[in-house]
């Protein structure tokens, strides 16, 4: 029975591995043209803060085709995927957010804001920033896809060096007062129950020692007391 389980586990493992070893090259970002013009603003109740809080504030994103281009450029454009992407400052020393020219391996843009059908203008979306977005500096990029979901072009709200118009997002801590309380209560329970146990065993040990001493003591005087009692 254990043999069957092990065999199943190994089979599943190898199946997972062979899936993982299939690597397809994706479109290279450097081959894409920057044909879209993208703008993004923070919509916040606290207008002057300049930062966006997750769960509370929203991003308003507009995009349209660059009007100075030739008209035929968008003949194959089918849909637009708008994404929130890390600015270089939030990528430093964090290899899991690395930018790679191969879009299949690129980790720059973790969150998808919207996917819409392609229109050359009049595109607008308001996106409430979800609570699972980590804190950091971001920009917005829109990829244009064809009917096979292959990237054809892009646009972003920042310059090529990704230094201007960056959006600062403030995250949640994830902590809740109830978690804090539960943690403290259980910690106290652990320490207090340990101390009670040790105290109880020490007291029991002393009690038994005392009883043993007493019995030993009585054992010495016992026969003499009996002898005394008999003679009197």
């Amino acid at each position: 029975m254990a043999c069957c389980h092990k065999l199943l586990a190994v089979t599943v493992l190898f199946a997972a591995l062979f899936q993982a070893t299939e690597v397809e090259g994706g479109v290279r970002f450097s081959t894409l043209e920057r044909n879209l013009v993208v703008n993004a603003q923070i919509q916040s109740q606290n207008v002057s803060s300049g930062v966006a809080k997750v769960g509370v504030d929203s991003l308003a994103v507009q995009w349209n085709l660059n009007s100075s281009l030739e008209i035929e450029v968008d003949s194959e454009y089918a849909s637009v995927k708008v994404k929130l992407c890390f600015a270089p400052k939030s990528q430093i020393d964090r290899g899991w957010r690395k930018t790679d020219d191969d879009l299949q391996r690129d980790n720059t843009c973790p969150k998808e804001i919207a996917t819409k059908l392609y229109r050359s203008e009049g595109n607008f979306v308001v996106w409430r920033i979800p609570k699972n977005v980590p804190g950091g500096e971001y920009f917005v990029r829109a990829y244009v896809l064809d009917t096979q979901a292959v990237e054809l072009a892009y646009g972003q709200n920042t310059d090529d060096a990704k230094t201007t118009n960056l959006i600062t997002i403030i995250p949640i801590t994830g902590r809740l007062p109830s978690i804090d309380i539960a943690g403290i209560v259980l910690s106290l329970f652990s320490v207090v129950s340990l101390c009670s146990f040790l105290l109880a065993e020490t007291l029991l040990d002393e009690k038994i020692r005392f009883q043993n001493d007493l019995l030993n003591h009585i054992g010495v005087i016992g026969p003499r007391a009996l002898a005394f009692a008999f003679t009197n």
Binding site: A16, L186, L194
Partner: protein, 507 residues
Amino acid sequence: MAPQGQESAFSVPGDEATDLKGNKFALPVDSEHKAKTLRLYSFASPHMLTFHLSWISFMTCFFSTFAPPPLMPVIRDNLDLTKVDIANAAVASVSGSIISRLLMGTICDLAGPRYGCAILIMVTAPAVFCMPLVNSITGFIMVRFFISFALATFVSCQFWMSSMFNSKIVGLANGTAAGWGNVGGGVTQLVMPLVFSLIQHQFGAEYFTAWRLAFFVPGVMHVVMGLLVLTLGQDLPDGNYAALKRSGNKVPDTFGKVLYHGATNYRTWIFTITYGYCLGVELTVDNIIAEYFYDRFDVNLSTAGIIASTFGFMNIFARPAGGIISDLMARRFGMRGRLWALWIIQTLGGVLCIILGITHQLTSSIVVMLIFSVFVQAACGATFGVIPFISRRSLGIISGFIGAGGNVGSILTQVLFFSSSKYSTETGIMLMGVMTVACTSVLFLVYFPQWGGMICPPRVKSTEEDYYGAEWNAEEHAAGLHESSLKFAVNSRSFLIIDQLGMKEKT
């Protein structure tokens, strides 16, 4: 039961032996009332119940120490960590137990493994419960540091096994208990992501809250195991230290003497070095292997987690196998067999580590890693087939030193080869293998007068009683304090003596 000192070292052991309360033992025992067999399916008190309590509490501590790595993608986003931050926390997660393993050895010698294990596991439970409260890298490093104190349950586990099981099977008992405990490092890679996913999707918790809630699982495990050890555990086959001290059957010893005899035995330090390159390698790999496969071979995080967990799961049979091999070699060749077995297994582990570092292809890399894990973990098991024989008086503190050596080896390796961009991870792995082979060669320096060393045969007329009796001075001999060591000496006697007629078997 005969008063201490009057019991003959050659009294008939076994099936009719009883503990202090007059209850018959469920397993066959020797003159020290240590079990002569290991029945894994049994929970009979005291031997097998102790075995199960011991390995499960050790596994719980491994589980909580290595609980952050599988959830690191969530934690690093929540706390805004960089690669250096994560590496620092990983070093912290194996540092705390250096101190605690040294202390635990002494606590076991003086207060007993039951108290040692229970106190440690319940005192580190608050550290585990602090993980949900962490807000910054400083807090994260500190919490990982304090949780790592719990890894000292390894010392109480090994000490407890050495106290409960006869020298013929101590390698098997130690290896199985420690191996199954180490599996906690594999279990956590599978379970923590599952618990996280359950909390996030079934209970609808926020992404950055769910990982915090997941840490209540190891925390509660700590508390439960601590209470079970206190209520069901027993220090020695005859009873707890307190009861035995009362009846005069447990000799109270002083910390100074125990420390002196442990520290002045050069074998302690040799095994500290070699264990640094078997357990040390295992701990390092636990911390880096998921990321290695994720980065180098572009597998996704779940796949990297599955691969990482298989490394830990090999412990189920690899470490006990090391103990069994040590015991089998001892039957045929005595202590010399144990030393050779350890050297061969650990050196092969180092060679496979070198090969892992130079393997460029994913499937071959996984296969090499699995074989490498078997050898490294078997070496840990084989090491603890030798350690119970280094000293009787200072067994606890020696186990503590050597266990701490494992952690020092891991810290040294991580700092030297894995924390800067000077070496790529694969080069670091290869260099770790080279260092393993180099450090394992100090085993050639180990020599027991009564049994010999790897190269040299035993000294004629040198006996086990001389070796273990030498730990007690003349006054202690006169007071009869060395009696338990003498009993151990008899039970540790090798099974073959070499005389002019050639090898003959002695039972």
